[in-house]
Symmetry: C2
Subunit: 171 residues, 2 copies
Amino acid sequence: MKEIVANARAPFGSVYHFFPGGKEQLGAETVRRSGAECGRLLPLVLDAHPDLVEAVRAFFALAAQDLVEANYEDACPIATVALETSSTSEILRQACADVFEDWIELGSERVAAAGIPRDAARNLTIAMIAMLEGAFVLCRATRTTEALIVSGQWCAKMAEAAMPASRRTGN
Amino acid sequence: MKEIVANARAPFGSVYHFFPGGKEQLGAETVRRSGAECGRLLPLVLDAHPDLVEAVRAFFALAAQDLVEANYEDACPIATVALETSSTSEILRQACADVFEDWIELGSERVAAAGIPRDAARNLTIAMIAMLEGAFVLCRATRTTEALIVSGQWCAKMAEAAMPASRRTGN
DNA sequence: GTCTATAGAAGGATAGAC
DNA sequence: GTCTATCCTTCTATAGAC
């Protein structure tokens, strides 16, 4: 907390003026805010690639590139908090859960727009988010991008398989 | 540390007698030990199901069941440590990396035994571990098993797709 | 070689001056 | 309503008695 306040060049007491709930409230709001920020990345990448399979490939490639550029220090800002706090703080757990549900909803919409039925779209999106999050864990631990590369390839295949035959481009 | 020592009914100083490296060393050895323990679960489940696709299904179903029984409090003992410490402790990061590499190697052997070429076996195993780890993150945050269920279905499909046509059982 | 008692730092939170 | 100074707790680690 002291580090955060110093970094913000604010007096220490201000934290408790603006965040009466203290550390937990500040954490929860940070999760929601950075979660929404990450969520905005999704349409950004997807809209640049009209083909869903290409978009998935691009997304994982970008994730791998960002991870290396961040020296393997920053990946998903939510996952760490989710694992650390889900059993000890209902407020923080709920914030993480809401962010994940938003991402699933956001992704599902785009996936469905590619011609995949609503339920299948949700399932595909959940699987891709799970694979992305898990790959981040493996990559940060090993300091390699192998898991992200491999995961991207599989997710592209999954997207391909979920597409209705009529809309496949053969990527 | 105090909690651990108290739980072990040991005097506090003993920690630093047996683990001169303090918290970091104790953590690293815990990661390696519980990682190996989890690793032993893999052959246990896989050997009970001679068909790889069935084994994958069983593994995810078991993971979901265990998670619910643990009230969503315990999932993977390595992932949390990996995310929390990879940027701040080289010793702990390396311990997590070694565990993950062991799991990949262990899994690859079994997958390869189902008739999948060595490289494809490694890629499939990495993808499945990533999806499992990511699903744990989502499930613990949402306190639902949806992500694990969905991930299990996709991993079964992935295993199916990776099998040589001659060995497919049509599961 | 085992353990107790405590050091020394960092943690989060608050009281009360302005 | 803003901020400073400080409180109390908790943390990891160690010194030194036995």
